[in-house]
Point group: C2
Chain length 106, copies 2
């Protein structure tokens, strides 16, 4: 008998509501490596529209998964960082990447 | 610097294509505890329609995540089991459940 996966019902749904779509997971993946600017993410996430990226970033900020920080450069630039809560999603993504690597044929 | 999350691009997407929707994750969660009949899953997954459950089960069978086995009982009954590939999704769900438990407010 495996240990009960959810101690409390709704926890998996809560996580999937944040991480369940393709783009969100990939944004967290990219920010795991370094803080990035909007345009960095746009070029890394091939096929995403600026509007969708903007919506996903807003949602992740609202959820406390990422934070936008202004850098005093010339010109001033802002970069997105993972928060502590966001960093804790990395463990899930690592497991997802491992499973995908084992079971995708290409 | 964290280790690169994906050794090969597309692995996270591959996993999310299977596990990304709410019902699929919950079906795998329930089958992690025991093989179940269609009607067991229907009553466990509150709000799912028989048609949606049937579609999800077909997709998971096609993906090799679950298998349907006929039991020689009177009347004969079939139960859904996780395959080895499906069992390997448990690690992801455990991490999701833990993250959700830490960060959902209710």
């Amino acid at each position: 008998m495996v240990r009960k996966l959810e101690k409390r019902s709704g926890c998996i749904q809560h996580t999937l509501a944040i991480l369940g779509d393709k783009w969100t997971a990939l944004i967290v993946r990219d920010l795991s490596e370094a803080p990035l600017r909007f345009c960095d993410l746009e070029s890394s996430l091939e096929g995403i529209s600026p509007r969708t990226l903007s919506q996903r970033l807003d949602k992740l900020e609202l959820e406390g998964v990422i934070v936008k920080r202004l850098y005093c450069e010339h010109p001033p630039r802002s970069r997105y960082h993972l928060t502590r809560k966001g960093s804790e999603l990395q463990e899930i993504l690592i497991k997802m990447a491992d499973w995908g690597a084992r079971h995708s044929s290409s």
